[in-house]
Subunit: 333 residues, 2 copies
């Protein structure tokens, strides 16, 4: 009596992490269909002890499927998600394509699980940077009401996919050895370098990644009054995003209460050792579920404002884990 | 009729850069005395075509010296700068020790050159992150008056010295090869990782590096009303710092006028290619004099506020170049 699951984009960074997480969390699967582009079809991926052949994604791929976990890019979701819905499946979509669409719930299960059940076939998984910011801010928003967030991100290569992660390592190795390197996915030198996020620029000077943090936060929190500005930056780190958040509240937050709220928040882990100047780092979060928070301090430049440091695994909570958690709630596993 | 110059900490990252810059800018030197700890004494450094032996720094090292460029750490400056002053030299000090001392000018020559001549023997060179932030903000402050800055830094290894730069490369090479690595100066894993700045924590939760950005900016601008909060982060980059600055003004800044002011500002270079999503990166700034600025945009979350992206070479304008520029003004070269 298990669930019939299809994964769109099974061979990517998020796709392979989805397999790990589904296995780890013993998601009750009765059939697992791995779908990818014609280029990847025929490859074999392991799930638990079974080898599963990757099939080419077509509009007929979804017969009998209950749940589609989609992470093959916005264009693919745009084209194939409607076919999956027509075939009777629910799509949990990791791409940005449907996130801001009216009627498509945008969900972080620890924040707005009730929205899951308002779906009309598609449920959207938020942007990684948004999830990592929103999860620790939610309990603080409920208690002290957030007015404005100034976010600066330190984003890992994984956000650009598995190839980008490989490319960061290969380019760095080449740099150290004094060799030339031809980049294929990363647009700028990446060895010991960083650059403002390479998502497309919009008219007001924000890149799309930044706009996502602004708009998705409002939709998830159901609060259009929250103001967010963000500067998104790609740093030479493999798979966890860090964020420096400056957060202004309506009410003066008490630091001890803030820490108590963070410690009580599902999916959040307070990690710090103030005496030893030791705070969350990408390596601490890599491969782990919780979003790590530390270094909460009163902003000395403005009342009712905190500086907060957060780090989360971009592939896990920032993408694959959040999607599986949505599916778990949806199917009441 | 040249100037007799001594360099304290001649063998460090800033010390060797001082030699390069003095040569490059043809600073009129009649004698160059290289001073370092007993450990480094006896080494030979090249200046122009001459090999100069490094001597051990003692309280008697300054006889006949006109100018001391000091970059051997705060403790060394504390101990030896007074001896240099007693011997009749002027000390341009790269360390933080005297920066906030009453009567010691803290100078960025493009901003407050007049302060140079108020010295009583010691002139302080600001913190690297402060210089890189303050230089592009100065013309905007004069025109629109800054109320508050929220800064997030992306700081290079060079801020922790030449050994840290070597260690970043060696640790990364070891990581790629799957080998263990013993760190000596960097306190945390640094290969494909980052961490909040490791300067000592202060009571209010800010680290010393952050406090420098808050206090030094006020002293340089002669404006105690400017409010600054900062989150300083060490990223795996070699020698240029980047900063995401969110800047609130008294007056609504006009973007075109902002760009015109930045283009006209000495020591600042506007670098951007909006159509190609290409903004300043650490590699662009490395080994170059100007602080690079780009991605100026109106903060959509708050009126009279801009998001600004700046990148500057930490060793050059962040340290050695600024010190030499002070000396040039002082001696009217």
């Amino acid at each position: 009596m298990g669930i019939k699951v299809a994964i769109m984009g099974a061979t990517g960074a998020v796709g392979t992490e989805l397999l790990d997480i589904l296995a780890e969390r013993k998601f009750p699967i009765s059939e697992l269909r791995l779908l990818a582009s014609a280029r990847s079809a025929g490859k074999t991926l392991q799930f638990q002890d079974e080898d599963i052949k990757v099939r080419e994604l077509t509009h007929d791929s979804f017969k009998g499927i209950d749940l589609v976990l989609a992470s093959a890019g916005g264009k693919i979701s745009k084209e194939f998600a409607p076919s999956a819905v027509k075939a009777g499946a629910v799509v949990v979509d990791n791409t940005s394509y449907f996130r801001m669409t009216e009627g498509v719930p945008l969900v972080i299960p620890e924040i707005n699980p009730e929205d899951i059940f308002k779906h009309k076939g598609i449920i959207a998984n938020p942007n990684c940077s948004t999830i990592i910011m929103a999860l620790p801010l939610w309990p603080l928003h409920k208690r002290f009401k957030i007015k404005r967030v100034v976010a600066a991100t330190y984003q890992a290569a994984s956000g650009a996919g598995a190839v980008a992660m490989d490319e960061l390592v290969s380019e760095t190795a080449a740099y150290i050895q004094g060799q030339d390197f031809n980049r294929t996915v990363i647009p700028h030198p990446y060895a010991f370098n960083l650059f403002p996020h390479n998502s497309p620029m919009t008219e007001n000077g924000y890149c799309e990644e930044e706009i996502k943090m602004v708009k998705e936060t409002r939709k998830i929190f159901h609060d259009d009054a929250i103001r967010v500005t963000a500067t998104c930056v790609r740093v030479p780190v493999l798979r966890a995003h860090s964020e420096a958040l400056n957060v202004e509240f309506e009410e003066e937050p008490d630091i001890e209460e803030v820490y108590a709220l963070l410690r009580a928040m599902e999916g959040v882990e307070v990690m710090e050792d103030r005496a030893n100047n030791r705070w969350p780092m990408p390596l601490d979060a890599s491969g782990r579920d919780p979003v790590l928070v530390g270094r909460v301090r009163k902003d000395s430049s403005q009342p009712k404002t905190l500086d907060i440091w957060v780090v989360g695994d971009q592939i896990r909570k920032g993408a694959a884990l959040n999607a599986v958690q949505i599916a778990e709630k949806l199917f009441k596993t």
